[in-house]
């Protein structure tokens, strides 16, 4: 029997959904989350790296560090979904789509998502 996971917390959910397109570094991730949420979700550094730390610990994402050396020698850490993380992200997406469809069916006039 497949064990069902609890839904991810909001910040983690946004991050795994943002990483579905491929690996990103912290600032790019923050921008992608803001873009996906129409600017309504803007994380601060503590929230972003706290959530990334938990996702790494849970094995949903992994670091792919040491990629891009900037002019000033600052190195950025990139993150990507693991196979488990990708599966969780797809499941979360599916759960949200079902939720929206069910709610939409019960709205007056049968509004469609």
């Amino acid at each position: 029997m497949v064990r069902r996971r609890k839904p991810l917390p909001s910040s983690s959910l946004h991050l795994v959904l943002a990483l579905l397109d491929g690996e990103l570094h912290g600032y790019a991730l923050m921008g992608r989350v803001a873009e996906l949420s129409d600017g309504s979700v803007r994380m601060g550094p503590g929230t972003l790296y706290g959530a990334l730390n938990r996702l790494v610990d849970e094995g949903l994402i992994e670091e792919t560090t040491d990629r891009v050396a900037r002019d000033d020698n600052e190195r950025r850490r990139y993150y990507q979904l693991t196979s488990v993380g990708r599966s969780v992200a797809v499941d979360e997406l599916d759960r949200l789509q079902k939720l929206v469809r069910r709610v939409a069916r019960h709205l007056p006039g049968g509004a469609v998502a």
Partner: protein
């Protein structure tokens, strides 16, 4: 405020976070702030950073505190006090008042040692042999206490009774020594990282 000064101020503010988190992500967080200051208006960025600090620092502090390995020093200290109570009983076995004081110290401190040892055990962690150190101490102390009470009440032991008493005393002392050694071994191993 120039960006360079802003980053220095932010690096100081990062000291509010627990050290492991700061060591792991401090540079990335400062780099992230530099990126934000480059692309957005500074007051807006600082407002977001202030809110972020207020919300995340207590959470990270609490998380770090909950994950901190617990010390075996407190239960061991209570166990040593309990042992001192037993020694008092042994040294003054004929004076009832002092025996009562020694017994009270031994019982209260032993109870506190047991409670502290139970509290210091990580939830769900497998119990190593060193985790049972307090049981050796309590067992030895109780046996010596009982022996003292029996010899104090009866005054003289029947033939063959001394041999049994000596055997019990020897076993009790062995148990006490084992308890102290296991407790020290556990205390020494408390700082080591646990395998994941």
């Amino acid at each position: 405020m120039t960006d360079r000064l802003a980053i220095r101020v932010y690096r100081r503010l990062l000291w509010l976070y627990p050290r492991p988190f700061r060591d792991e992500y401090g540079d990335d967080m400062a780099l992230l702030l530099a990126d934000q200051l480059r692309d957005e208006a500074a007051p807006r960025v600082w407002l977001r950073v202030a809110l972020d600090l207020v919300l995340t620092v207590p959470a990270h502090r609490m998380e770090a505190r909950m994950n901190r390995p617990r010390s075996s020093a407190v239960p061991l200290l209570f166990a040593v006090i309990a042992l001192a109570g037993v020694i008092v009983i042994l040294l003054a076995a004929t004076t009832l008042g002092i025996v009562a004081i020694g017994a009270s110290i031994a019982l209260v401190s032993g109870g506190l040692a047991v409670a502290a040892a139970r509290r210091s055990r990580p939830v769900g962690a497998p119990a190593a042999i060193t985790a049972h150190w307090w049981q050796f101490l309590v067992g030895g102390a109780v046996a010596i206490g009982l022996l003292s009470v029996v010899t104090g009440i009866t005054g003289e032991l029947p033939d063959g009774g001394w041999a049994i008493a000596m055997a019990v005393l020897f076993a009790s002392l062995l148990s006490l020594v084992a308890g102290v050694l296991l407790g020290l071994a556990r205390l020494g191993g408390a700082g080591r990282p646990t395998p994941s």
